[in-house]
């Protein structure tokens, strides 16, 4: 995709609030945009680095909760008469804190989880997310549990007459767009660099990557940290948009949604999560317009996912790309190449 196309697209998207006055449509764009950011972050870990992490929603939720808690302030009893507390901070600070905390969590989880591989890693990742969810449900003193954190402050930048408040949808939409562009650029630069080559190498063939001096664990953790931080940003945006955060944000089904977006769009491509995200942002709306029950909507997603895996195993974007360059695309899913020999330690 030529660079100009990308910037043209951004310019077009930025113009939307000027001519789109349907606030519901803007709402859909905003939530889709937030999910696309989350999907892009998952793509870095799943698509580029090849790690089937199914706990990704944990980072999203941690970002949301951190941002909410820092901007609301909190107080918890560490010991019966000893509390730790934080006074409410401005929302922009809370969002930065969210990125940092999510990234740190990514670091910790990365360092621990990558001791196990393959199917075990998948299960560990799901388990982490579930434990985080149960903590959010049960640690009521901090998170309010199922009663949710309410009235999360609006993001405001600047002061006095120059203050920008992101309360209304058009402003928030532009904010999401800006953040999405920044995240895209970060990921693009990363994957096209030496570090990105290392990540792709370890996805393709870990033993071979090791043999040329690539520290596999280092790059796995790096991918996880960046991925978690970006998911945290998405979560923080969510918190200051919907302005209510409850433990349901950690449900496995949201990880699945992100996975579907990445896989159908095309894992390991930059445009993939955007296409996938757009698809699964708008399909629900179309189905809702057709008055199809929510459960059946999910049945449609499930079937779609299976079909894509069978017929377009690399996703939509590579299929289209392949079509245009005249190559035959699709076909059987490529088996992940791992060196048949050396026994992995």
């Amino acid at each position: 995709m030529s660079r100009y196309f990308g910037w043209l697209l951004v310019a077009f998207l930025a113009s939307v609030p000027l001519w789109m006055h349907d606030f519901y449509f803007l709402h859909v764009l905003i939530t889709t945009g937030i999910f696309i950011i989350a999907a892009m972050s998952l793509n870095l870990l799943l698509g580029y680095t090849g790690q089937l992490s199914l706990g990704h929603v944990a980072f999203f939720g941690i970002g949301a909760y951190t941002s909410a808690l820092v901007s609301l302030g909190f107080q918890i009893h560490v010991l019966p008469d000893f509390t730790i507390g934080l006074a409410p901070k401005p929302a922009w600070f809370a969002m930065l804190a969210a990125v940092a905390v999510a990234g740190l969590t990514g670091y910790a989880i990365g360092k621990l989880s990558f001791r196990v591989r393959g199917a075990y890693f998948v299960i560990v990742s799901i388990s982490f997310a579930e434990v985080v969810r149960l903590v959010a449900v049960n640690w009521v003193e901090l998170t309010q549990g199922p009663m949710a954190l309410n009235n999360i402050p609006v993001l405001r930048l600047g002061a006095g007459p120059l203050e920008l408040s992101f309360l209304r949808k058009p402003e928030f939409y532009l904010l999401v767009l800006a953040v999405a562009v920044v995240c895209y650029v970060v990921i693009a630069r990363l994957v096209n660099s030496r570090a990105g080559r290392a990540m792709i190498a370890l996805r393709e063939n870990e033993s071979l990557a090791t043999s040329v001096g690539i520290d596999v664990t280092h790059y796995l953790v790096l991918a996880t940290v960046v991925s978690a931080a970006i998911a945290g940003v998405a979560g923080a945006l969510y918190a200051h948009y919907i302005r209510i955060v409850d433990p349901d944000i950690f449900l496995f089904i949201y990880t699945v949604t992100m996975v579907i977006m990445v896989i159908t769009g095309g894992k390991g491509t930059l445009a993939g999560p955007i296409v996938g995200g757009a698809l699964f942002g708008f399909v629900p709306e179309i189905l809702r317009a057709m008055e199809i029950e929510p459960e059946l909507q999910w049945v449609v997603y499930g079937v779609l996912m299976i079909l894509v895996v069978y017929f377009l195993p690399r996703g939509i974007v590579p299929a289209i790309g392949g079509y245009f360059s005249g190559q035959k695309s699709g076909g059987t899913a490529e088996a992940a190449t791992t060196a048949a020999e050396p026994v992995q330690k």
């Binding site: 196990v116 075990y120 434990v131 459960e295």
Partner: protein, 290 residues
């Protein structure tokens, strides 16, 4: 002290069904290496079948169990033949994604058909629990325990003493040789998946009348099943059996003495702890497959 014994008793009773779940999954995940996200749905499927059979068609309670399990076996076979068959050579990601897709479809179909309302199944047992001194346990649970043990025993017998079981073990140890020896690999894969699914359905059919039947009941069951499989070592039926009981104990004691809210977290925490300390599971040294 009595409380402790009560917890122990509850754990033993619960452990039986957990073991069933775990054995079913260890056959599929452990031997076939399929990260079977539909395992929980087969559990729920068994429960819903039981509900339909007992409450709508008024089938005899005990016969309904057998029928529910049979339907679970058929469903498992169908899933394998429809979805997994083509994916035989594909990598683990692809299979997993297809299984996730199937899980979504199944759970939402269930939700659509039955709606989210929790359903109860009537059982023919007396309402008053069986009282053994200071301990009490409902008749239903005793029945569940006995049947679970019977099924576990039957599975052992099937895997270790029948030709089918031998063929299964051969196929998953060395597929090419097994094929050369005339074993129909396709059929073995289907049979194994069907058996694992049947056990999950049986667990659901057994526990359905004890608890309530909801569309999401499978999720928790699945996560516990995975914990059990990891505890016991992939493909290790003995390990899965023991793992089922261990998990039940950890849950019961944890819920009783630490916090009941985190009860369901026990399984996950166990998974995390074990995998981080011993990536091959607690019992992996024992011989695989029975």
């Amino acid at each position: 002290m009595d409380e402790l014994f009560q917890h122990f008793l509850n754990a033993i009773i619960l452990g039986g069904t957990y073991a069933l779940l775990g054995i079913g999954l260890t056959l599929i995940f452990g031997i076939m290496r399929v990260v079977n996200f539909t395992h929980g749905e087969l559990y729920a499927f068994g429960a819903y079948c039981m509900y339909a059979l007992v409450m709508i068609f008024h089938v005899n309670f005990f016969l309904a169990l057998a029928l529910a399990m049979a339907m679970g076996i058929l469903m498992g076979a169908a899933l394998e033949m429809l979805l997994l068959n083509r994916l035989r050579g594909a990598d683990i990601d692809t299979t997993m994604l297809v299984m996730i897709g199937a899980w979504i479809v199944m759970q939402n179909m269930e939700q659509f058909i039955w709606s989210g309302v929790a359903l109860s199944i009537n059982s023919p047992f007396p309402a008053n629990p069986l009282v053994l001194g200071p301990l009490s346990v409902s008749w239903n649970r005793v029945y569940v325990f006995i049947i679970a043990l019977a099924l576990i025993g039957a599975t052992y017998y099937l895997v270790n003493r029948t030709r089918l079981g031998k063929a299964m073990r051969a196929t998953f140890q060395d597929r090419d040789t097994a094929a050369l020896m005339g074993i129909r690999i396709d059929r073995i894969h289907t049979a194994t998946f069907a058996l694992g699914s049947g056990l999950a359905a049986a667990a659901g059919a057994l526990l359905g009348p004890v608890f309530v039947v909801t569309p999401t009941m499978g999720d928790l069951a699945a996560s516990k099943a995975f914990a059990i499989v990891i505890l016991g070592g992939l493909g290790n039926i003995t390990g899965a059996t023991l793992g089922g009981f261990i998990l039940a104990f950890v849950e019961e004691l944890g819920a009783g003495y630490i916090s009941s809210g985190y009860r369901d977290a026990m399984g996950f925490l166990l998974i995390i702890l074990i995998l981080l300390m011993r990536p091959t599971g607690l019992f992996a040294q024992k011989e695989r497959i029975g």
